[in-house]
Symmetry: C2
Subunit: 147 residues, 2 copies
């Protein structure tokens, strides 16, 4: 069988500044100040590895949904999503045991509510970040329509 | 046996703006404009889920190293780390198959080079983000000393 051979490489760099603080860079993008969470001796007001991890899942499910919505001509008016990840000790090692993602999707027409449910489930299944992680990911959508 | 029961929860939210563009938020942190990679119809110049994922690993290994360095009184002058993640189809599904992380660590004294190697290996093993992902993570350190 012929295998797909497309590969994509994504790069970032981080430079330590002082204490837990660093600067995160990726070519052509704005830099981001990063630290540890305050509970782990970090500075306040900066992004942390834990939030970047949760953000990567949250944003990837959003983009996967947009991809399917375009493909299937599903019109939506808004998409807002809260995600939370739980870090805990599993068999003696700290890891993200689970993530809950709660997209609120507003459609222009109630005729497409079932279609939107189907596509958000498909997005949960085919998101390339959820494919890459061990954490249990649960997507809990709230879909409404303007008319 | 008594189990550790500490749990930590990390939250982010994302709001869709237009096309592939969104705004990523986490309470008390600067917002980040996000999109898809240009190869997947995204806008240029914005962070993507793929880079946030690679960044979470890169920054978490850095913080784990800093934690061990403080614990063991290892003095370092600088820590800069490039990381790259490879996205490809594995058994028919796109995922990050591997990440390579290349920390360059400069010490004040060459006496501590072996100690630094030991601690970066420990950081690779105990990083809570690498514990949470399926991708193979390889840490390739470059350790030097001022004297």
């Amino acid at each position: 069988m012929k295998q797909k051979s497309r590969k994509f490489v994504y790069k970032t760099s981080v430079s330590w500044i002082e204490e837990r603080k660093g600067i995160l860079c990726s070519s052509g993008k704005p830099t981001i100040e990063v630290s540890a969470p305050a509970a782990f001796k970090g500075q306040e007001g900066m992004w942390t590895p834990e939030e970047l991890f949760v953000a990567s899942v949250n944003t990837c499910i959003k983009l996967t949904f947009i991809h399917y919505a375009q493909r299937d001509k599903l019109e939506f008016l808004s998409y807002e999503s809260e995600a939370e990840g739980t870090l805990e000790s599993v068999e003696g090692r700290f890891m993200f045991s689970e993530l809950k993602v709660r997209p609120k999707i507003k459609l222009s027409s109630s005729n497409q509510i079932e279609k939107a449910k189907e596509l958000i489930q498909l997005s949960e299944k085919n998101c390339l970040i959820t494919n890459s992680i061990k954490s249990k990911v649960e997507v809990i959508p709230e879909i409404s329509a303007q008319s």
